[in-house]
Symmetry: C2
Subunit: 229 residues, 2 copies
């Protein structure tokens, strides 16, 4: 199970690929592989992080608690994503909680290895910067979506997002199964509203469900709905 970063394919998907052999070796020697059970936190809002987490398997939700007690899910991170980077870079406590949605396997990399490389290897820093630029662009899109689209449109968008990013299982259901509450926290609405819209979409033949599993039936119509037709 335990293995060397140098041989880890996951690395190809994130900024660690810009590390030199030497640097990777150091990371590999200091990293700790950890499994996290569904529902358990990797870290929580306000924690001081002593390193970053590289996701090898499973999916984590990044969320922030609001004053009224509801969580808002800001991002769903899967294989290859590095979590906690922002906090380590700005040397502040995290503003987000990371909780496993699936059973996860992650590598913890102490911040020293990261900071060292950030200071010495401009390629690595630039690579991290590019990733963060991408995240920021996505965050801007989320802001516009949330404030300008209806809950129904955002729900449709969420289903398409889940299909495009996490795929479908052999029976045609979304591979990532979220609870209704998690869905409502992604979309930013009340859980009852999310459930109601799921029922409505089902009646209209846009999706089908089985237990908490949801499958997309009419992608075209969902897309039109997102666009506002």
């Amino acid at each position: 199970m335990e293995s060397r970063c140098e041989n880890c394919i996951i690395r190809q998907f994130n900024s660690l690929r810009a590390m030199s052999k030497e640097e990777l070796k150091q990371v590999s020697d200091s990293k700790i592989t950890r499994t996290v059970k569904k529902g358990e936190p990797l870290f929580e809002e306000g924690d001081k992080l002593n390193g970053v987490y590289c996701v090898r398997n499973g999916i984590s939700k990044l969320s922030k608690l609001s004053a009224n007690g509801k969580d808002q899910i800001v991002k769903l991170a899967s294989k290859g994503e590095v979590l906690g980077q922002r906090s380590v870079i700005s040397q502040e406590s995290t503003n987000l909680s990371a909780i496993a949605v699936d059973d996860m396997e992650v590598c913890f990399i102490p911040k020293e290895s990261i900071n060292n490389t950030l200071q010495k290897n401009p390629n690595f820093t630039l690579e991290v910067l590019r990733h963060m630029a991408h995240d920021l662009k996505e965050a801007d899109d989320v802001i516009v979506n949330i404030s300008q689209k209806t809950v129904k449109q955002r729900m449709a968008e969420a289903f398409l997002y889940l299909k495009n990013n996490f795929g479908e299982d052999p029976e045609g259901f979304l591979a990532l199964t979220l609870s209704r509450e998690d869905i409502s926290n992604v979309v930013g609405t009340a859980t009852e509203s999310a459930i109601r819209i799921i029922s409505e979409f089902k009646k209209k033949g846009l999706i089908h469900t089985s237990g908490k599993k949801i499958g997309i039936k009419d992608e075209r119509k969902l897309l039109e709905m997102v666009e506002g037709f």
Copy 2:
């Protein structure tokens, strides 16, 4: 009017301060100072940027057009901020428009100077990274605010934000005067709703107005409103 970056105090407020003398010299030689009149764009959504803009004076709104034809203002940038960085770094067209809210004075810095330094000076890259980490954190906060707070709470927050970031004029009005429409685009609501809430806040003695100028009268109560009391 025209001056050398080496002597520019604005630089202290942004990542350019991490540049070496040599690098600054190159920037200074290639930069172009430009004035932008109120309402004119620095750049528009979809443009390919050939460089970044360093704000010397005035204020710019960064916004994104949504499908329903409304703008969402994602950020207000003032003296010292560098605009267009993300686009230059990720080598994509911008996802935001930058439009002058005030008369502005900006320096255009060709992307070559920036990219050169990004590749060679890890301190500079790290500095840019830190700024972007900060922006990303703020964006996350905006997402949570928009999805979890009422329009009234966000209006109250917007006024406090304007006071804290742009200050007040001698008569106690917010130094940055935005149109009602711009305010609604910051908050993410219909213009009529924004106007209605301004009237309500006025009646309740939270703010006072004179034409389009708005002044904060009861900061404490506004704060309580943001917190949800």
